[in-house]
Amino acid sequence: MNRRIGWWLATTLFAGLLAGASVMGCAAEPARAPLAVVVLATSSPANGHENLFDLINLVLLIVVLVYFLRKPLGQFFKARSSEIEQGLEKGRKALESAQAQLAAAEEKLRNVESEIVAFKEAAVRETEAERDRMRRAAEQETQRIIESAHSVIQSSVQAAKLELRRLAARQASELAEKLLRQRLDDAGRDRLVERFLEDLPSPPDHKPPA
């Protein structure tokens, strides 16, 4: 907006100057108007009255232009001045920030060597600690596996013993049954029945005969 007003003022001022130059007889060559003003100042006395009126006209034109253009021009230049000040302030702040960053980077660069050394030392310490931890974990896992293996072995041994005992008992029973089938005769069967009769319990209130 301010830029547009500035262009308008400049165009108006230039147009006024051209008009003034035209009044002074220089309209045929607008590009040479300033030169015409100088020529006006050094013109001959014969043309003195005409030049006076022209001068008055020019003064009036300038007065009118100043009257109408003073406020917009003041605002334009004030806004432009403010923009420039803000730009300068922004640039100053950017410069300060860049300088601060530069200072921080330089400080970091100065400390980077000591940081690298500290980092290496910390890495070595962490590596040692991790190695110890892994060694302890491996030892614990090994111990656990050994205990588990012991437990499995013991239970397997127990199961094998039990199975062996069952097998031996079954074979002994089968062998005994085979022998008994071969050797048991009627007399033996009768004795078994008699023993069964003898082994039967007596009733609680039963008193054997005297």
Binding site: A169, S173, L184, D190, L197, L200
Partner: protein
């Protein structure tokens, strides 16, 4: 629950028979009907089906009872069972009734299993021994199982007296296994 129900019906029947004292006859009649009920699928289907009307079921039951020539007291008992929807428990009721009858008549049932048939003198000796043991008249049922090898095994209700070689071998084998 079914055991309590069958026991209640068995005691009721025994109470009804008590005056006449014909426990065994009634037990046989109930047993014959229970056997017929167990062996005839058609009879069970008719008497247990909810699709058959109670009057039709009663007519079928009356016909079966007439064919079996059951006594009036047993017929009444079976009608009661039918009206109370308990006829499907007839086998259990028969067993319970026989136990009640045995108890009232002072009889104890003994199941004797031996490796070979027992001679009469050994059967007599066993009977006398069970009289001494139970203080009741034993009704002994003999059975032969050659797998026992030798000896006798007697069961009185839930008590088992095992004097067989098979039992001895099993006990020895278990002791060897657990030793």
């Amino acid at each position: 629950m079914p055991q309590a129900v069958t026991q209640r019906y068995a005691r009721a029947l025994a109470g009804a028979v008590e005056r006449q004292g014909k426990y065994r006859e009634v037990a046989e009649e109930v047993g014959s009907f229970a056997r017929c009920y167990r062996e005839s699928i058609e009879l069970r289907e008719v008497l247990e089906s909810p699709a058959v009307l109670p009057q039709a079921k009663l007519r079928v039951l009356e016909r079966v009872m007439a064919l079996l020539e059951l006594s009036p007291i047993v017929r009444n008992f079976l009608r009661v069972l039918q009206s109370h929807y308990r006829l499907h428990l007839i086998s259990e009721i028969q067993d319970a009734f026989e136990r009640v009858v045995d108890d009232r008549m002072g009889v104890v049932r003994v199941a004797v299993v031996s490796a070979s048939p027992l001679p009469p003198e050994q059967q007599t000796a066993l009977e006398n021994r069970f009289v001494r043991l139970t203080q009741k008249a034993p009704a002994i049922e003999y059975r032969v199982d050659p797998n026992l090898l030798g000896g006798v095994r007697a069961s009185i209700q839930s008590t088992v007296y095992d004097g067989t070689i098979r039992g001895a071998l099993d006990r020895i084998r278990m002791q060897m296994e657990t030793a």
